[in-house]
Symmetry: C3
Subunit: 142 residues, 3 copies
């Protein structure tokens, strides 16, 4: 077991609301760290973007998810007091969450067949950061 | 501290939408691993089911939760594009989350008096998998 | 690396629905433990309160979030069966989640500039508990 430093990735988003597949990016860090067993914490340090895990096959799942979130939490509500016009983004972040934890086994992310890791922008376009902390539980090399 | 392999449990669900109490199943793994201190990551590798923690006493809490989720995210919406008819399940998974982390102390799960761990099916009935990764933080035995 | 015991904080809430900033409380435990690298699991052992991360600057974000949650999940619905009148609180807990994981580097919580950790009461006022488990990944001192 070794302590591995936090890696930070810059993520450029292109529209107000967007889900970006960051699975390969996270897998790249796992490979580079050469960790066989453990887990990774993918952490979003912003309050109007989130990280989640969902389907990586049909892109309609992603757009249906974003459309439904928009219907539940529209950008404008007459009762919002916060004057930046992004209260909806803060609510969506609370609903989806700031981080995900994914297991690592045999040097690879343990994801289900249809699972991908997504960075979720709710108030873009912006330059965002995403943190990747790999926790190494591999037995010491002899 | 030792590295413990991931355990996988098969979960059979019986209806389209269902919450199954898996607390005893997770506790069984903790007991078997004989870990005194640490935590467990309960991970759902599917994109239309989830894992959550909620009340284990009155079963009405469970049905109220599922009914409310159904009202917020009904199975059919005229704007859904994904053609498998389960976009709602993907949304519910995003809202509830893919994993929970529960602390372990004195060889037992540290849950509140009314807390149980639930596997949440949103597109059943199916045979599902659930992963249990115990992270052992116990001091080494002398 | 050492195993650190779970710390429990008592949290007094003052109204039915409330978000309390507990960032300093968590940071205090990190400082006291003198852990340079690792992460902290902040765990809520109740089923009608939650823990989340959101904006720590404009208090309107907090009230907009709580108002929106109230609109989505009002306290009373004619279909609720649970007879304690707090089914909404259980739903909100499921949506926001029972715990957050925050990274530690250089002895400090790694939070984004605008992020704070919040204990979310959905069925108060009550005396609540909040658990703080610090996982130390610091290299051993020579």
């Amino acid at each position: 077991m070794r302590n591995l430093p936090i890696s930070t990735e810059m993520i450029n988003t292109h529209t107000r609301v967007e889900m970006l597949d960051v699975t390969d990016l996270v897998q790249k860090h796992v490979r580079k760290a050469a960790v066989s067993d453990g887990f990774v914490i993918v952490y979003n340090p912003h309050t109007s973007s989130a990280v989640t895990i969902n389907e990586n096959a049909d892109p309609d799942v992603k757009s249906d998810l974003l459309t439904k979130l928009e219907k539940l939490v529209p950008q404008i509500e007459n009762y919002y007091q916060h004057d930046e016009g992004n209260s909806d983004a803060h609510v969506k972040t609370a609903l989806l969450g700031n981080s995900v934890t994914v297991l690592i086994e045999g040097g690879r992310l343990v994801l289900g067949r249809w699972q991908g890791i997504y960075f979720c922008e709710f108030d873009g376009p912006r330059e965002r950061r995403m943190m990747v902390k790999i926790v190494d539980l591999s037995p010491p090399q002899s």
